[in-house]
């Protein structure tokens, strides 16, 4: 596994260096003051350096690193989601429980590989018990709206995100001890697809995909990004249990889900009247702005691998 990891790190380093150099050349040639797109591009690339560095460090701590990192990502994402949606004073204990009980318990289930409870704890137990607690508090004002927002918040920020470290619990024959590479594959392909869609959209984008939801998404960006990230998936087949063809198919599905995740996230933001979820990551917005695609891709990727590749 050390061999594959070295190749990935060198590859990411080369890609990011190329990006930084390109942005620097573009900025040097562009008329001053720089356009907001160029300033944002440099900010985004700088943030990528930090994110890749953090991921790499977490990677070296293996199962510990991944579980803790994604629990923290869930914390930041949940905080953004709950901040944006409506809640009332009587929701205090339910909100506290989401941060203080649901996140730790869900990640404990990941840690102990208790699959049976991991898949139903939030969609069954939290789904039923949280509105019961809200009802017991006796405050019925905008009840359905508050309860739905809480369900969505933990499904998106905790349940879906926790499927990334849960990849470590899968038992793929012939791939023992190398599950970290499944996480690397998923993240590189999905985040790579976001970047590729952005690049294809900026270079060739003409026809808007869904002007009512997200003005920045174009057909050209989507198709270019999906084709390129499927090729990227095939290229990365050597770190997975998949054949190159399988890898490109899996990558295609994950990235298509990622695209839909971004679309749904945009719809929620638009409905709530904001542009970004938060300000945690300079140039990108909040944690959910960066992870919306991963959120939709992770559970599907997890179940595809589990259904077709595990015993």
């Amino acid at each position: 596994m050390r061999h594959e990891i070295s190749i990935l790190i060198i590859g990411l380093f080369v890609v990011l260096s190329t990006a930084s150099v390109t942005a620097a050349i573009l900025s040097a040639r562009a008329p001053k003051p720089l356009s907001s797109t160029l300033v944002n591009l440099t900010q985004r690339i700088n943030a990528w350096w930090v994110m890749v560095a953090l991921m790499t460090v977490a990677f070296f701590f293996g199962r510990y690193g991944m579980t803790i990192l994604f629990a923290l990502i869930s914390f930041a994402a949940l905080r953004e989601f709950v901040t944006l949606t409506h809640s009332r004073r009587s929701d205090h204990w339910v909100l506290l429980g989401m941060f203080g009980i649901v996140i730790p318990f869900q990640y404990w289930l990941v840690w102990t590989a208790w699959y049976g409870l991991f898949v139903i704890f939030i969609p069954v137990y939290c789904f039923l018990l949280m509105p019961a607690i809200t009802a017991l508090h006796g405050d019925t004002e905008r009840f359905l709206e508050r309860v739905s927002a809480q369900q969505w918040a933990i499904m998106i920020s905790v349940y879906c995100v926790s499927h990334v470290p849960a990849l470590l619990t899968l038992n793929v024959p012939g791939f023992e001890g190398r599950n970290l590479l499944l996480i690397a594959f998923l993240i590189i392909v999905v985040q790579g697809s976001d970047v590729l869609q952005y690049i294809f959209g900026k270079l060739f984008g003409k026809h808007r995909f869904s002007p009512n939801v997200s003005p920045s998404k174009t057909w050209e960006g989507l198709i270019g990004g999906l084709v390129a990230s499927s090729l990227l998936g095939a290229l990365l087949a050597f770190i997975t249990p998949f054949s190159p063809l399988q890898a490109s198919a899996v990558a295609f599905i994950a990235c298509a889900m990622g695209f839909l995740g971004g679309l749904v996230a945009s719809a929620i933001k638009r409905d709530q009247g904001v542009k970004d979820w938060g300000h945690l990551i300079e140039g990108h917005g909040g944690m959910l702005d960066r992870t919306d695609s991963l959120v939709f891709a992770a559970p599907i990727f997890f179940h595809i691998v589990r259904y077709f590749w595990t015993v």
Partner: protein, 219 residues
């Protein structure tokens, strides 16, 4: 106070203030929005909406460490002076200044206490609603803001809108829910020549309300 205990005392306050600001950031990711004023070492009176014990911690977390050391929150003696522990937390750890709503002697007069702090060159954080607000509307302002401004017209009055704190730590709760918060610092407000007390207080209240970045929300 002896030299050693004074040092311990300053150390306690510095550690508390840095620790609380770090905690405020970890829980609420608090960030200042300077909209009409800029960070400055000028002497100021910050006035803010008040829904939670966390309010002034959040506000002071937005100031530099040097500013924080010379900025004191005004708190109610009726609450914070109730037990020795509360008084220790309020006065010794948070270096706030306690005033009584039911003062008897001239020396206990809230305005003279606040003026004596200002005359040491320090800044103040005050909550002109007078109490932690549990309603959805900003309460009418008490007179202190006007009286302070008339007595020390050179000191800037900065309105500060503290966002979301009523959801993070509502009155009566002791565990905070981590939600993102912002503090919006507005342009200084001053008493216009000949402006009446009540008119000024209403205007100051309107200036503060206008800073709410999400007035459409009722929570």
């Amino acid at each position: 106070m002896s030299k050693l205990s004074l040092r311990t005392y300053t150390l306690l306050q510095t550690v508390t203030s840095v620790g609380l600001s770090a905690m405020a950031w970890a829980v609420t990711g608090v960030r200042p929005i300077w909209s009409g004023s800029e960070p400055s070492d000028r002497q100021r009176i910050y006035f803010a909406n008040h829904t939670s014990h966390g309010d002034f911690i959040l506000l002071s977390a937005c100031l530099s460490e040097a500013e924080r050391a010379k900025t004191h929150a005004i708190a109610a003696a009726e609450y914070w002076g109730k037990s020795r522990l509360r008084r220790f937390i309020a006065e010794d750890m948070l270096s706030s200044v306690l005033i009584s709503r039911t003062w008897t002697s001239e020396a206990e007069h809230p305005i003279s206490i606040m003026l004596s702090v200002l005359d040491q060159g320090h800044s103040l954080i005050i909550f002109p609603e007078g109490t932690r607000n549990t309603s959805d509307e900003l309460l009418p302002f008490r007179s202190g803001l006007y009286n302070l401004s008339m007595a020390r017209p050179d000191i800037e009055l900065i309105p500060c809108w503290i966002e979301n704190m009523s959801r993070v730590l509502p009155k009566g709760q002791f565990l905070p829910v981590p939600l993102l918060c912002r503090v919006v610092f507005g342009a200084p407000v001053a008493v216009a020549p000949g402006e009446e007390r009540r008119a000024f207080l209403q205007r100051a209240r309107a200036e503060l309300l206008a800073l709410n970045p999400r007035p459409d929300r009722d929570d």
